[in-house]
């Protein structure tokens, strides 16, 4: 019995030994990749195709999905709320990205030269990045309350400025949500800008000084052009972040998500509500396809800008 087992076991061992080194390594490689391939196929690619398919159906969790062609898309493009949401999403993007990048570049530029208490000051800017948006949404929400609760209105009234409605106003709410979103991301952008600044070889600056260029000329002619890869990365990274904004909006407007009057509602919140409050899964899938398309365009633009440089 024991000897029979031993012979059986020797079979595969001998087979393995007979393989040459190259073949063995190929087998190792596919063994390493086996589980990841199943993961990426089952949890990334299949769901992606499924999302496209569902966007063409009327699936609502109760009845089985039925193919309805492009009806979801027609419904979406005819829906004024969708266009309002589309506009909001782009407002988050076209205000949030430039504002946060300009602020973080200026801070990184000066912070990079600071020696005294450098890591302490850097930590002050970096700390908000480590917070949870869900928790900070509530802190900022409290900040925006009217007197006698809210800190900002309390400060405004103490210096004699009129009360502001902030989150309660159709005009101010979106900006009131943008501020914490920008605030939370600054620390990351500053750190990345500083890393980019340090990667510029010192000889460039020395050469420029020998040529008699001033600080401003050096910034314009050397620092900013050489920082382009970093800047492009941050533009794309933060654009994607603002296009996908959700946590802050959801938590700062819980009693009327995306309100008042949809003034703050971004695309992802609309997707969430369509799918998980009204259970119109097919319609929500169509909205995710729109989000996908927008993000794809942003990513392709990045590739285009980077290629142009070479």
């Amino acid at each position: 019995m024991a000897s029979a087992n031993a012979i059986e076991q020797r079979g595969p061992v001998r087979f393995w030994d007979r393989l040459n080194i190259g073949t063995k390594r190929v087998i190792w490689a596919w063994a390493f990749l086996a589980l990841p391939i199943i993961f990426y196929a089952g949890i990334r690619f299949y769901p992606t195709f499924q999302a496209f398919w569902l966007s063409l159906t009327n699936w609502d969790l109760l009845r089985p999905a039925q193919f309805i062609g492009f009806a979801n898309y027609q419904k979406m493009f005819a829906d004024p709320i969708f266009w309002k949401v589309f506009q909001n999403t782009f407002l988050y993007l076209i205000i949030g990205t430039p504002v946060s990048l300009v602020i973080s570049f200026v801070i990184a530029y000066y912070l990079d030269r600071v020696r005294i208490m450098h890591s302490f000051i850097r930590a002050l800017y970096f700390l908000p990045f480590l917070t949870t948006a869900a928790a900070m949404g509530w802190v900022w929400r409290w900040f925006y309350q009217p007197v006698p609760i809210g800190v900002i209105n309390g400060f405004l009234s103490s210096v004699g400025i009129a009360q502001q409605p902030f989150l309660r106003s159709v005009d101010q709410a979106l900006f009131s949500i943008l501020i914490p979103a920008i605030w939370a991301g600054l620390g990351f952008q500053i750190i990345i800008f500083m890393a980019g600044l340090r990667a510029i070889p010192g000889t460039f600056y020395e050469a420029a000084r020998i040529d008699g260029l001033g600080d401003w000329a050096i910034l314009r002619k050397i620092t900013i052009p050489l920082l382009k890869p970093t800047t492009v990365f941050l533009v794309v990274f933060s654009s994607i972040g603002f296009l996908r904004i959700f946590d802050q909006v959801y938590n700062m407007t819980t009693n009327d998500p995306g309100g008042p009057l949809n003034a703050t509602k971004p695309l992802v919140l609309m997707i969430y509500q369509t799918a998980f409050s009204s259970y119109q899964m097919g319609y929500a899938a169509a909205q995710t396809v729109v989000l996908f398309t927008i993000l794809l365009i942003v990513s392709l633009l990045q590739l285009y800008v980077l290629r142009e440089k070479k």
Partner: protein
């Protein structure tokens, strides 16, 4: 030693010019403004409900009553445990699989390697929001709703981590791996014992990013959990705060409890975290 300190001294002296002093002061003020929300959050969490309307930053009579009140019903401890367990498990999984795949793509020659690499990289273009509906369907069919696995499974491997690790493994000299092969080590051991220790900075960057991302994750946990025992801390804080309505001192206490752990970790590991973010940002 003396060289360095002379240089430092010179650098410090260069800092002492009027323009520099103004820039430094403005940076410090800006930094203090940045942490004002956090300071107010902590300060209010130490106030009684009667003192909330007093907007002084330093509470007149600081008290930990709010923390005792919030902790006493046990939910926060449960959410804290859930978040820690989930973030740790997902981080370990990413460190293991992203490194393994990154290493395989960087160091093995086989047909289809480039295709696999492109396929994984292309998933970076797919936003989570597009996948949540199919994931939700999958989870409800397989009974994964309201489970740790249901919260964790989408993030067990990431293209970002794989790409990052591949970049770093490409820098590992082949000689070391060949020497180990001559010594008769198998490929798994070579990866784990020889290659992995050579990319520790990248591993720590990946671990920091994955942990932080999962610790603060909100969208998917909000969708996949409906029973309160399974909430993660961010989802728990959100639901707790909505319930607490206008008891701002309790809401601030909940928010503070979600913030304290990451702040503590940061204070302990500041240098590594900043370096890790720089590494990930530059290579990624």
């Amino acid at each position: 030693m003396t060289m360095a300190s002379t240089q430092e001294l010179a650098a410090n002296r260069r800092d002492i010019r009027p323009g520099r002093i103004i820039a430094w002061t403005l940076l410090l003020i800006g930094g203090l403004i940045m942490i004002t929300p956090l300071l107010f959050m902590f300060s209010t969490s130490l106030k009684t409900s009667g003192q909330v309307y007093d907007l002084k930053l330093i509470p007149a009579a600081p008290t930990f009553d709010n923390y005792i009140k919030v902790l006493s019903d046990g939910r926060f401890m449960q959410w804290f445990f859930n978040s820690t367990f989930i973030a740790l498990t997902v981080t370990l999984s990413n460190v293991f699989f992203d490194s393994l795949v990154g290493y395989t793509l960087a160091k093995f020659e086989f047909r289809g390697r480039y295709f696999i690499f492109l396929a994984i990289l292309s998933t970076l273009m797919i936003p989570t929001e597009m996948l949540v509906i199919p994931w939700y369907l999958m989870s409800s069919q397989l009974g994964w709703l309201n489970s740790y696995w249901g919260i964790m499974f989408p993030g067990m491997m990431t293209a970002f981590g794989t790409f990052l690790m591949k970049q770093f493994f490409e820098g590992v000299p082949n000689d070391f791996l060949e020497a180990a092969r001559v010594d008769g080590l198998n490929e798994f051991t070579i990866w784990w014992k020889i290659a992995m220790p050579m990319v520790v900075p990248a591993i720590s960057a990946l671990a920091i990013f994955t942990f932080l991302g999962n610790w603060t994750a909100f969208f998917w946990p909000l969708i996949v959990t409906t029973s309160k025992e399974l909430y993660t801390l961010p989802v728990g804080i959100s639901s707790f705060s909505a319930e607490a309505s206008i008891q701002w001192e309790l809401i601030m206490t909940g928010a503070a409890m979600g913030t304290i752990p990451t702040l503590l970790v940061f204070l302990l590991l500041q240098r590594y975290i900043v370096r890790g973010v720089m590494l990930a940002g530059l290579k990624g």
